[in-house]
């Protein structure tokens, strides 16, 4: 399978699959942004698209939303995740939250956003739970909570999904540094849990989680699906505006969209630079704080607040999924009632066939992309093992690059480029576009377990006369069944959750569960959203469940593989 000639090429091929579309997309964005679109008879360069963009009255507000929501969500999510780990790591409450991590992570952003909306709208579950007994409302109050003009709900929607992600990253970093003893020593010196952890462990951990934090920042600044569902409409955030412009049949609008995409890229770059500089300032202040010897008097209070905030995030996602489920079976549901007046299957009968078609498309794309990502990842790692060709020697940056460049900056350009060269939009290009986002996550999920494998086992197998291919297929991969399946589940859930790549590169003709669900946002049919949101969550959650169950069943008689 892995021929001697093919294997050494795989790292280069992987880089091409990951970075090629990003570079091509940026190229395809820059030219039309300066009025150069030969296919439409437009020859640049001109600054007209930028003049049009800056002539839009909503721009300052859209930019503020993008920056404010992105920065706010990242700072708050990082604070919650770090303080939660500081105050509670090793405790029973923390282990409970840890067990919720995988399901919380696999819930697609769009489904979590819909769930949150159904919880906190004036006619949502929380309001129903408190009405009329506590609030006195017998009809939903006239409040703008979801899609509020400041983007606070949108920020909340991002926070509840990014806290589990950052928590996972922090936990992975903790495993690599000798952190437990540092925290124990700090406590023995009289420091509170939180202060001791922040002073001794956090600096080391942050050095390792820096890139994922940047990814969260870039993502939160340029997210589209969560912004469509929870963000304001007039004006929308910059990303949503870009997507609107790009779906306009008027070519001048597309040029303006390209200009807006360049602006988006610039904003993210500036935000990352500002963040990096703030890191240095925080480091100086933190160093002073360490030298001050303050032991942390209010640590217990901070710990409790962090636990409350973390619990709230988990609750928002999980209760959101439950309320999606309730709506999907709801008949008539009058206001202050906590549960629907009647439950029925009619919604599922009505929307079920549509969701099944979308599920088929979703599964086909996700399955193909994940398989390709796995082959490339395993190929890269095996090439590193056999030939010393290391992808990581060129820096983790390359892996994170496709996640750092805002989607709204290169996907519109990729679409324009494809239309220019007459390539057909549709399923195959969508698969390649998904690969850009799936590959880094699959690689990051699988690289550590693959490298942690005891190479002496490989020596033994080779000494027994097994060729390298046989060692890989018969020994190494079977032993790594659990991480292989986890990486598969990660890949599938990333692909299932892709909205913008499917929408733009599919030219609106590729209907996955996510594009269909987000398209329902403007209509506000809660029963349809319930059905689609639940199916979307299931499509991401089922593989994670299988990744836990399958190794337990296959290796039920192999104690040596039950853990780790």
């Amino acid at each position: 399978m892995m021929s001697r000639r093919l294997l050494p090429v795989l790292p280069a091929l992987t880089l091409l699959a990951m970075l090629g579309p990003v570079v091509a997309g940026l190229y395809g964005t820059v030219l039309p942004a300066f009025g150069h679109l030969p296919a439409a008879g437009l020859i640049g360069p001109t600054l007209d698209p930028f003049y049009h963009l800056f002539g839009w009255a909503g721009l300052p507000r859209a930019v503020m939303l993008s920056v404010g929501v992105g920065m706010g969500a990242t700072v708050i999510a990082l604070s919650i995740a770090a303080l939660l780990t500081a105050g509670w790591s090793g405790t029973r409450a923390f282990r409970f939250l840890q067990r919720l991590l995988s399901p919380l992570l696999s819930v697609p952003h769009a489904a979590a956003a819909f769930g949150l909306a159904f919880l906190i709208t004036p006619s949502g579950w929380i309001s129903r739970a408190l009405s009329p007994a506590i609030t006195g409302w017998d009809r939903p109050p006239d409040l703008l909570i979801v899609q509020d003009t400041l983007g606070l709900t949108m920020m909340a929607g991002l926070i509840v999904k990014e806290v589990p992600f950052l928590l996972l990253i922090i936990l992975a970093a903790l495993g690599q540094a000798d952190t437990q003893r540092s925290a124990a020593i700090a406590q023995a010196l009289g420091y509170g849990r939180v202060t001791g952890w922040l002073k001794t462990v956090f600096p080391r951990v942050y050095a390792q989680i820096r890139l994922p934090v940047y990814v969260v920042l870039a993502y939160a600044m340029s997210v589209v699906d969560v912004a469509v569902i929870l963000g304001p409409n007039t004006p929308p955030s910059l990303s949503v505006y870009i997507v609107r412009l790009m779906s306009d049949p008027d070519i001048a609008m597309r040029l303006q969209g390209a200009a807006a995409a360049i602006l988006q890229l610039g904003l993210v770059v500036i935000a990352l630079i500002v963040w990096r500089m703030t890191e240095s300032i925080v480091a100086v202040l933190g160093h002073r704080w360490v030298l001050s010897g303050a032991r942390g008097k209010i640590d217990p209070l901070i710990g409790i607040l962090a636990l409350f905030a973390g619990g709230l995030c988990a609750f928002a996602v999980l209760a959101g999924i439950v309320v999606l489920g309730v709506w999907s079976f709801a008949g008539f549901w009058s206001f202050p009632n906590f549960l629907p007046d009647q439950f029925m299957l009619r919604n599922w009968l009505r929307f079920g066939p549509g969701t099944l078609a979308a599920l088929g498309e979703t599964a086909l794309i996700a399955g193909t992309v994940t398989l390709a990502a796995l082959v490339l990842t395993i190929g890269c790692l095996e090439a590193e093992y056999r030939h010393g060709l290391s992808l990581s020697s060129r820096g983790l940056w390359l892996l994170y690059l496709p996640l750092l460049v805002p989607q709204t900056a290169f996907l519109p350009g990729l679409q324009t480029l494809m239309l220019n060269i007459g390539a057909d939009v549709g399923r195959t290009p969508v698969i390649f576009a998904h690969l850009v986002f799936v590959l880094p996550y699959v690689f990051l999920a699988f690289a550590d377990p693959f490298r942690a494998w005891d190479v002496r086992i490989g020596t033994i197998a080779a000494a027994l006369g097994a060729r390298p291919d046989r060692v890989l297929w018969r020994i190494r991969l079977p032993m790594l069944l659990r991480p292989v399946l986890t990486a598969t589940a990660v890949g599938l859930s990333v692909s299932v959750g892709q909205y913008l790549a499917t929408l733009l590169i599919g030219g609106g003709r590729v209907a996955t569960l996510t594009t269909e669900a987000v398209a329902l946002a403007s209509g506000g049919d809660r029963r349809a959203i319930g059905v689609y949101g639940l199916m979307q969550t299931g499509a991401a959650l089922v593989p994670f469940t299988l990744a836990l169950l399958v190794p337990a069943i296959v290796w039920r008689n192999r104690t040596g593989l039950r853990h780790g």
């Binding site: 010393g388 086992i457 033994i460 000494a463 006369g465 060729r467 390298p468 032993m479 192999r558």
Partner: protein, 213 residues
């Protein structure tokens, strides 16, 4: 033709710095014991002989096995068996499947099964073929690892502190077993050890490596 394992002017460098150099011939059935402090490169020498030297090491010199120069032969074609201090049984395979992985390819299914059962009974483990390796005791695992290696019909045997994880009572037993089997098959043996008792029991030549200054 020279029977046995010959290390000719073997010199190993770590990141360009010389680590050790050695010239030795081990005749069939003889044991060469290599001693010396940790970090002196004992295990590295073994990985050079098996053909699995890590990337930050380079080596010069030749390895001859029964007169053939195998210095550049791929690891899986050298037929040099190795045992580590951990049994390193493949945890996803049953005891029998571990042995089948080691047994040289060829022969009918029944004859292969017979050889596996014979190998198990040779070390007093009759009926263990379907067991999960993780359920075996330390001494049982060591015996399975030995038989797995011997079934691959190696032409030389390397031992990387193979007895150091076993408790004192078991240690002598397993040691006697390994040396007896190696002698019966007339294998040249290179053993790396910290333990003077191991080296004495081997009753062969002893080389003590010292750090290069």
């Amino acid at each position: 033709m020279d029977k046995g394992l010959t290390l000719g002017n073997v010199e190993i460098l770590q990141n360009g710095e010389p680590l050790l150099c050695l010239t030795q011939t081990i005749k069939p059935g003889e044991v060469l014991s290599i001693m010396g402090p940790s970090g002196v490169g004992k295990s590295t020498l073994l990985s050079f002989i098996t053909g699995t030297l890590a990337a930050d090491f380079t080596a010069r010199g030749t390895v001859l096995l029964n007169g053939d120069d195998i210095t550049f032969t791929p690891a899986y074609q050298r037929r040099i068996g190795i045992l580590f201090q951990d049994d390193l049984l493949f945890p996803h395979l049953s005891v029998g499947a571990n042995l089948a992985f080691g047994l040289r390819a060829g022969g009918s299914k029944t004859s292969r099964l017979t050889r596996i059962h014979e190998a198990l009974s040779e070390v007093g483990l009759d009926g263990f073929a379907d067991r999960d390796p993780a359920t075996l005791s330390g001494g049982q695992k060591a015996r399975v690892a030995l038989m797995r290696m011997l079934l691959s019909e190696p032409r030389a045997l390397l031992l990387d502190e193979p007895f150091s994880r076993l408790d004192a009572a078991l240690r002598g037993q397993v040691r006697t077993l390994v040396f007896a089997r190696a002698k019966a098959r007339a294998l040249p043996v290179v053993m790396v050890t910290h333990d003077a008792e191991d080296a004495a029991a081997a009753s062969g030549h002893i080389v003590t490596l010292a750090p290069v200054t």
